[in-house]
């Protein structure tokens, strides 16, 4: 047997549960207790498209050095689901630990001899302590959290506090939950021994906050001044619309009248949802929809209208596994192409690429300024991993001096003063025309909005030259967008290198860990995190500066690489894809292994090897 893994404040615990069994809140309590000890954690829910009875996993990454992406591998498996037993046991790293319910005896063949096995008769304990079957089920979860606290060195006071917070207002539930926690804890103290994975109070969390990306995006929409949300329920974006509603109920009600300064409409489908957004934005309100891949497919025609008629719109795309219904509860970054070039005809759209919930908030707010400024759809490309998991990120911040940018809108006074109004007239040389809100002036500034070709004064025209003039201006406008979208973030290796790596979105956290791992192996990479499309010139400069550039993404077809090749005229041979598309969040180990493998396979020598 290999040496049991020993590690303090740096390991991976995975819970294998059955969904609908009440395990989620207990598992979250486990993670949050660690966080309250000042040790950073990242949690990932891997769940089925189902309400009750199917396998679900909850992975907790503990990392004092704040590696909060998925690492890969499992150090401690809490195996509570017989359906997935075999695969769960197989996934434990050699030297790792298995915690399981030993009420029913299991044959030796069901175990492994290279891991430490910790059995606890959970069902038996519950059956003796509780008579109600539902209680038996729910308290079982708290009991194992109590036991794990003893095994791993989690301070019980933190769990006690969390129980108090969770059941605030339902105070009669506090005592039985505390008792269950102690029941588990005492059993472990009396019958089991602490394991090699240990927690020690630290001061590594700082002022960071723990929140999911969908809540952060919903809050961003409130701060971005959104008043109209039209949406259709779809995993994994539903909780974004719900979060917007939650924050609006808190922050957007008129104290005197009790009435709301917002409207949320659950549309009949995604077509109606984007239609309402376009109608509201046309009329001068800030509006958004939230959806996922199938919704993006359904919105294509309307997105072309918004592009061509130049109407602001904000679309949060919380990406999931495609194509078709695909893997609705798994994560991917596979809508890049369908958003960047959404709709028929020649179109290009602005994409924002948040890397964590903190950026979901920032970009969620910024998207509305960009939509108004550029008068075009803006996509906030989140994904299930960011959207539905709680991440540790820097606290939300807002500058009270910041004003919402409503873009180029002609007022009554402008029109009254006789300013020339051409709805599609480029007066400033940036490709962005002026618009008016309906009803502004009795005699001036009205125009007909349409998806058909029109001249600079919005008059219908099928003349080739007029059409081409407009289409070219739209390209100029897109070029203006380059300087307005969030800039890429460059992070250079400690020493000069000919290798680069490009990544974005939820890949960011595991990428940063992988860069350290590779650095230790003598593989140095300059890294660039994309945050927006159209690509800033810095992206093409970065590619030009390096001989080989890896593009790490979470889809099969290397969609971001395709977009870079297409938009930047880059030699495809120079861009090496690193692709994870199995629906689980990409891991640091996968990235590091894959980059090292590609270097070997292509016989690309690193600088250190040259020096030797």
């Amino acid at each position: 047997m290999p040496q049991p893994i020993t590690s303090t404040n740096d390991f991976v615990v995975k819970f294998a549960n059955v969904n609908g069994s009440g395990s989620a809140s207990a598992n979250q309590m486990f993670a949050k207790a660690i966080l309250r000890m000042g040790v950073p954690v990242a949690t990932r829910n891997i769940f089925p498209s189902n309400i009750q009875g199917l396998p679900t996993w909850f992975e907790v990454r503990v990392s004092e050095s704040s590696h909060l992406g998925r690492r890969g591998g499992v150090d401690l498996m809490v195996a509570m689901n017989p359906q997935t037993w075999t695969a769960d046991i197989a996934s434990i790293d050699p030297g790792g630990y298995l915690f399981y319910d030993s009420t029913k005896p299991m044959p030796a063949s069901k175990f492994r001899d290279d891991i430490t096995i910790i059995g606890m008769p959970l069902t038996d304990i519950c059956n003796r302590a509780y008579s109600d079957p539902r209680q038996r089920q729910l308290f079982k979860n708290i009991i194992y959290v109590g036991a794990l606290s003893a095994l791993l060195g989690i301070e019980p006071v933190e769990i006690q506090r969390l129980i108090g917070e969770q059941f605030k207002g339902k105070d009669k539930l506090i005592k039985p939950n505390l008792e269950a926690m102690h029941l588990g804890r005492e059993y472990a103290q009396n019958h089991l021994t602490p394991i090699g994975l240990q927690l020690k109070r630290a001061d590594a969390v700082g002022d960071r906050i723990f929140i999911d990306g969908n809540s952060a995006s919903g809050l961003g929409a409130v701060y971005g001044g959104a008043t109209v949300a039209a949406w259709y329920p779809i995993t994994p974006s539903t909780s974004l619309a719900e979060a917007f509603g939650r924050y609006c109920r808190k922050y957007r009600h008129d104290a005197a009248s009790g009435k709301g300064r917002y409207a949320i409409v659950q549309a009949e489908d995604e077509l109606a949802a984007i239609g309402m957004v376009i109608g509201a934005s046309w009329n001068g309100a800030r509006a958004f929809t939230t959806t996922s891949g199938p919704g993006i497919s359904l919105m294509q025609e309307f997105l072309g209208l918004a592009y061509f008629a130049e109407i602001p719109a904000v679309i949060f795309d919380v990406q999931r596994g495609g194509p078709s219904t695909g893997m609705p509860t798994r994560t991917q970054q596979s809508d890049i192409m369908s958003c960047a070039y959404a709709s028929h005809g020649d179109t290009k759209h602005v994409l924002l690429l948040p890397g964590d919930p903190g950026e979901c908030f920032e970009m969620g707010a910024q998207a509305f300024d960009l939509a108004d400024r550029l008068q075009t759809p803006i996509f906030v490309m989140s994904d299930l991993d960011i959207g539905m998991n709680e991440w540790l990120c820097k606290p939300f911040a807002w500058d009270d001096k910041r004003r919402l940018d409503r873009g180029k809108v002609m007022s009554y006074e402008d029109l009254e003063a006789g300013k020339d109004f051409g709805r599609y007239l480029d007066v400033d040389g940036d490709g962005i025309p002026y618009r008016t809100y309906p009803g502004t002036h009795p005699a001036r500034g009205s125009y007909f909005t349409r998806g058909t070709s029109k001249d600079r004064y919005a008059k219908y025209s099928e003349e080739g030259a007029v059409y081409a003039d407009n289409m070219k201006r739209l390209l100029e406008k897109f070029d203006t967008a380059k300087s307005l979208v969030p800039e890429p973030v460059r992070r250079d290796a400690k020493q000069r290198t000919r290798l680069g790596v490009i990544y974005f979105g939820s890949t960011s956290a595991p990428m940063h860990e992988a860069l350290e791992t590779l650095d230790d192996q003598g593989i140095h990479l300059d890294a660039m995190r994309l945050r927006g499309f159209p690509f800033a010139d810095a992206v093409m400069d970065f590619i030009a500066d390096h001989e080989h550039v890896f593009v790490v993404e979470q889809n099969r077809d290397a969609q971001m690489r395709m977009l870079i090749v297409n938009e930047g005229g880059v030699d495809p041979a120079k861009l090496l894809p690193v692709l994870n598309f199995d629906g689980t969040p990409i891991t640091a180990r996968f990235i590091a292994d894959e980059i090292a493998r590609l270097l070997r396979a292509r016989k690309i020598v690193t600088l250190r090897e040259v020096a030797r």
């Binding site: 008043t227 109608g279 606290p395």
Partner: protein, 351 residues
């Protein structure tokens, strides 16, 4: 169609409404539809209605989908903002626009292809949400722009210009609107301006989802013998249940009606509707009765017209959502952005 531009000259003695506007101030560009198209009569009725109601043209937003009917907003209310959206999707765009600014008047113009086929879902859902709008379907039973295919409102047994019989059952948008909770439902005929203008006026003054189905014969593709949407057929089978006069500002009621023949309905905004009964027992406040009556007459091959249902106390989408009175597009930053202090408190709760 005509290629003659409209002369800019105005006769000095043209009648003016309370705003000092003439009829011409409510017109649009010259129609490019076929000469004699029923849709042009509907445009004229809209112009007349807006003129008579003393509406400010720029406070009306006109929205449409795709098709011959959806082209018509170009031909009326030239000073209004217009939005020619995508096929069958006018209702969602109008819904969003209405949410953004509840102070404008929303006029949705659609056709039977636009609303009964590709946009049936959006038609239904905008009605059931109670969007405050006037939704007019210019119903000719045929796809005009693509040259003569049957639409979903074509009656079973109706014949196309080429003699092909339609075997599909028709969709009756009026019955659907009633069933879906529209608070104002009417049907009229483009060839009967005296009936249509007051109906459009009453709808524009209605608070809630007002739906008007206007049978509007297509002179190019659906005005032949064997069609149930031709001028001749509709004239022969038009069964008006009432005649409407719209009184604004509670004007004194003319007393020249025989007792029991006039019903008065006062709408939310004070508009009084005088309904002269033509069908003795027809009650426009009875939704279920209206549905039954329509079904019965439809089976008999009759086209029931008039104000079929009105709920003067209806609520609209804004009422349901409990939104503030101020239009959303006029909020300043302070009304929208909660600010830094709120975030600090929120951050503290997320640790």
């Amino acid at each position: 169609m005509t290629f003659l531009p409209k002369p800019k000259m105005r006769h000095p003695d043209l009648p003016k409404n309370k705003l000092g506007n003439t009829h011409r101030d409510y017109e649009g560009a010259v129609s490019t539809l076929c000469a004699g198209c029923g849709h042009d009569s509907i445009s004229a009725a809209i112009i007349q209605a807006c003129f008579e109601l003393d509406l400010e043209p720029h406070r009306i937003a006109k929205l449409s989908g795709i098709g011959c009917s959806s082209k018509t907003p170009t031909y009326f209310l030239g000073s209004s903002h217009g939005f020619n959206s995508v096929h069958g999707r006018m209702p969602s765009v109008l819904t969003g626009a209405n949410l953004a600014n509840r102070d404008l008047i929303y006029l949705g113009v659609s056709g039977d292809g636009d609303s009964a086929s590709i946009g049936l879902g959006q038609f239904a859902h905008s009605i059931r949400r109670g969007v405050n709008m006037t939704y007019i379907v210019e119903n000719n039973g045929v796809y005009g722009l693509t040259k003569g295919q049957f639409s979903a409102t074509s009656d079973r047994g109706s014949k196309s210009k080429k003699g092909v019989e339609n075997f599909d059952a028709p969709i009756d948008l009026v019955s659907m609107a009633l069933q879906l909770g529209a608070s104002f439902v009417a049907r009229s005929f483009s060839g009967d301006k005296t009936q249509l203008v007051p109906i459009v006026k009453a709808a524009l003054r209605h608070h809630g989802a007002a739906f008007i189905d206007v049978i509007s014969p297509c002179v190019a593709f659906n005005n032949h013998l064997g069609s149930t949407k031709s001028f001749d057929y509709v004239r022969e089978h038009n069964e008006a249940v009432n005649r409407l006069d719209v009184m604004i500002d509670r004007q004194p009621i003319a007393a020249d009606y025989a007792p029991g023949t006039v019903e008065l309905v006062t709408q939310h905004d004070g508009t009084t509707l005088h309904l002269r009964k033509l069908a003795a027992h027809y009650d426009p406040s009875d939704r279920i009765g209206a549905l039954t009556y329509l079904q019965e007459r439809q089976v008999a091959g009759e086209v029931v017209t008039g104000l079929l249902f009105v709920d003067p106390e209806a609520r609209d989408l804004h009422d349901y959502l409990n939104t503030v009175d101020k239009p959303f597009n006029r909020f300043d930053d302070d009304e929208l952005v909660p600010g830094a202090a709120v975030l600090d408190k929120l951050n503290a709760s997320l640790r």
